[in-house]
Symmetry: C2
Subunit: 210 residues, 2 copies
């Protein structure tokens, strides 16, 4: 995934010659704590945060160029950079947003922390039943009921708590990958459970075929 696929194209921007007062109103209205400063070619020249604005207002400064951080002091990305870099920057530097530039250094979007949360959480929201459906499709000759039966056996064996296939099926119907990972104690454990289920259904299939 590239930066341009994760960025928000609906961002506000300001000029170095705008007044701090008008920018503060613009940022409040659009609910943006940060905004890029661009020149007349829309190229990035600086960055404004609400902290620059509050300080500027307090100290009676007038223009954005008096309070902005210059381009060389800020983090930015190019549109084809891997969006993973934005994730790392955000969690390392506690940045809430990073401007995204095209090859001409023109600002074309901003990646904000909730764009990242959105993208990352979509993985967590995948239904566990989808994974079972994929498994059923891959393991030709194994039925859904056989999968649920094997899962109930593995789950009983792992947790020590008896669970019936129908109960297991109801449980995975509503649960997400994220919940399953928290519940089993991590990706590796969740994955080991699924491999164990696969192993059992295959062993049973081979047993029947004999």
């Amino acid at each position: 995934m590239k930066a341009k696929e994760m960025m928000d194209k609906d961002f506000v921007y300001v000029s170095a010659d705008d007044t701090i007062e008008e920018v503060s109103i613009k940022m409040e209205a659009s609910r943006k704590f940060t905004t890029p400063v661009i020149d007349s070619d829309k190229k990035l020249i600086g960055w404004i945060t609400s902290f620059d604005i509050t300080k500027g207002l307090r100290e009676n400064k007038k223009f954005i160029h008096e309070v902005m951080s210059p381009k060389e002091d800020i983090k930015y990305m190019h549109e084809n950079d891997p969006s993973r870099l934005a994730v790392l920057e955000t969690s390392d530097s506690k940045l809430i947003s990073i401007p995204v530039l095209d090859d001409n250094e023109v600002v074309i979007g901003v990646i904000r922390s909730f764009d990242i949360v959105n993208t990352l959480s979509s993985l967590y929201e995948v239904k566990v039943s989808k994974l079972y459906e994929a498994m059923e499709k891959q393991l030709k000759g194994v039925s859904w009921d056989e999968l649920m039966e094997a899962s109930a056996i593995i789950s009983t064996r792992t947790t020590g708590q008896r669970i019936k296939p129908g109960e297991y099926e109801r449980r995975i119907k509503d649960s997400t990958f994220g919940e399953a990972i928290w519940a089993t104690g991590g990706l590796e454990r969740f994955f080991v459970g699924l491999i164990a289920v696969g192993e059992l259904v295959i062993a049973r299939k081979v047993g029947k075929a004999r």
Copy 2:
């Protein structure tokens, strides 16, 4: 995972009687765009964002109580709420932070968007090789080399590009679960590939045993 496990306990807070000017300095110094407003018992009574501060400074307001949002207008969580709720709030309402309360309504932490990014991205950063190690451990009697061999066969079959076991091994050594998901085109596809590998090594194991 509960809210209290995801929250940042290192947060700043302010009083309704603090001046807007001193709070603005405090927020700049601690780099917080938002902060809870508490009473003398540390109970939550309101919420301040940088937008309240800029508006207050511009309009010559003096005290925090003149510009804060009251408790009834803001989102907050309790410590034992599932942290998943914070993720949903953040991505739905584009909030960058949510205060966390104990049973007495005392503020004990704040969940910020980068705390969420941190937690969510830790899953993406799991090494693919860890999953293979878990698989090797679960599938007793299957060696690491057999796993790599099966993986190279499945990968060649799926992508149409020949890859040798050693090459495959080098590739997964450096790659993360997140990268693997982007590369294969989603969790279900990645998962189907792993099931296919499991199926193949088990079939080979059964074949040998005969």
